[in-house]
Amino acid sequence: MKGILTDTTLCIGCRECVIACKQINKLDDDIPHRWNLDDGLSGLNWTSIVDKPGDRHVRKQCRHCLEPACVSVCPVGALTKTDSGAVIYDGHVCMGCRYCMMACPYGIPRYDWDQQVPYVRKCILCYETRLQKNQQPACTEVCPTKATIFGDRDELIKEAHRRIKANPERYIDKVWGEHEVGGTSVLYISDIDLSFLTYGQPLGERPVPTRTSTAMHAVPFAFVGMGGLMAGLQWIIGRRNENKQPPKELTDASEETKDE
């Protein structure tokens, strides 16, 4: 399971990663559209640098969650979590419902709103272009200060804790992405609070997909149960009506919904 560790204290905000991402994924020039958000991500920008006061720069990209919400909600399975850690997207399967964009706790996926044939766009960790050739993603390769590095997720977590332990006054004692929403492949260590990378509420450690799984597991039982209940009810009521001839129904209409 691979991952990326970004150390915001090392980032100088040069945006080489953004340019490298554009080049390797053959993304066109972006212009500010009505539908863009102010974090810099868009259908043509799969990673961006968010500038913060005090000369702080934070790279924003897909977090490649270990249990991704987008993968769990896609009705056609266009998004998949690969063994390498990357969450990848198959545009040929996608039908454009944009449920992934609604579900992502980090608000990462973006849409080709201006295209007649639009696709969902997000970082795919250079899966086809580099990861499958045993190369690291373009962004981590070009980073001049090694602020964002690629490696085994476990190794990266160890490295992150090592850096924090070595320089406790330099960092906040937290590795973002180690536990939140069940863990992410893209990790951050920082000296500023990174909660602006989400919608602002604390995410908690519960993986997001588990929130629907209870309801989804109930589906077959609900179907069989409801069908059985209805069949049984109609049989019983039919019998009762037969028994008391003449079959004039005098019950109040309110009874019909009592079972729900």
Partner: protein
Amino acid sequence: MNRVRNFKLILWMITGFAAAAGAARYIFGLGPATNLTDATPWGLWIGFDVMSGVALAAGGFVITASVYIFKLDKFHEITRPAVLTAFLGYIAVAVGLLFDLGLPWNIWHMIIYWNPHSPLFEVGWCVMLYLAVLALEFIPVPLEEFPRLGAIRNFLVKFRLPLVIIGIALSTLHQSSLGSLFLIMPYRVHPLWYTSILPILFFISAIGLGLMMVTFESNFTAWLYKRKPETALLGQLGNAARWVFILYLVVRFGDLAARGQLGLLNGSEWQVKLFWFELLIMAIIPIIMLSIPKVRNSLGGQWTYAIMGVTGVVLNRIDVGGLTHIDRTGSGVYLPMWTEIVISAGVVSLAALVFLFMVERFKIWEKRPADPQAEPQTLPEFTPVFQTWLGDPVIAARTRYSLAFVLATAIGFALVTHDVAKSKGVDPSPVQRSRGSDTLWVDGNTDGFGVAFKHAYHMKILGETSIDTVEGVETVSVDVNTSCALCHHMNLPRDQNSGCYACHADMYSKTDAMKHEWHSSPQGANLACRDCHAKGGPKSADNAKKCDVCHSDLFPSGATIKVEQYEALSYTDAMHTLCVDCHRLKADDVSRPDLAQCAICHSEQRSFVDENTLAGRYQNLVGKSLILP
């Protein structure tokens, strides 16, 4: 029949508008034709067309359950309209979805690519299956008119009970799963609405809405066709709805208490007001009205509580589906564009038109609306003296409706293309002339963040330039042919070294460097068409003279700049290309690798520099070569 006629006329007009807006959506794409953004990817089409559409069609399974499961035969006469409404409602949902999906031609992928973890997958499958069930339930009605197909009809009628049971089970699943859709978004949905029992709440309210919708639809069509409304029967439905809504209120507040969120109701946020408003019109007021038998059994009362209940549940769906996300995503308010509203209304209108056609053509009600061809004497326009019907002939109706549709589409097209086609969602950000005379404060955004560009210094290090100080004044002698041409385009009137902003006129968008208007206008170059374009044939860019035919020294030898098209790069791109290219070259020359890095220019970019600071920093230059804004 004027009432029906005018109503249909309005429906046709809305459909016509929607046809134009729908064409715009497919021609220009979702971005220009809607107000959806990356933060609100689901808008009115999901909130109203899909979420509310499915809920509004709940009447079908509620009524079939009452009649075929609970054997309440008195409701039999409203079964057919209820099933028809449900059937058309689900078709409308599917049609609305075709507009909302980015790749609607892939909608069938749900059949072959499975992801059973997804609530949307389940909703999709249930809707597909239930649509099939509804079709099978409804088909026997039109088949009555075709006695030759009686065998098929009898076959279908035989399977009615299993169909009804499957339909109820499927409805249970997808009505509740519409709530499950939002379980994955605890960070978007406001805690007053977000709860893990959303599916149950959705299912209960769907039953209530189904009853309200049947009441509304029955009374509305009764008004439309001047039928006798089934007031007593609908009153009994209302009584049932009362208990459903009471159950809903209990569950909803019980859930709030169980989650310990009752304290939220003390807040003064707008969401709290929305919460109370929603509950008031959806449940509380209808419950009060329904508890009074006199109100429940009166036409006016039924109208009021039905409309309130329907609006309330629809509002609830819209709240959960997007309205309460607004503050949480911090992305600004989403208001549907008029095309979205018109398309939603158009889909509903089309469904209503099919409904009216069905009730006029087939036996949906016990008593069909009068047909002028079959029984003219029942109609008000029938004249006993001449023994003829003097109302509108069919051909007049046909002519009128189609004309309304065509006119509405034409006007819609004019509106659509004017609003939508022109703006691709891009705000132009014009570039102004850089400030200063020698040390340029290149500040394209005009927001105070800029890059200091020392012109004299660049002249010195580029090419054969010498800067001498003669009598205290810097004088510059330059070999124009090589050095200025490196950066500037030449041969612009009265501004030999052209400013960047003249052609790269927009910060982010490509612009037309040729400026056709200027070349052809009397105030500009005052050229006739034939001065540039070949005689005859279309006058396009292809057969026009190239720039360098007239501007012979536009591309000087040895220039870094190359003009190959009439399109000028955006200002940022042009500056970055020009500066960064040169810096990269120089970085090798002078072996200073940092020269090509961003910070060499953008060191002050993120700190706002006001005039005083600027004057202080370039103190020695102020008044001589730096002119402050």
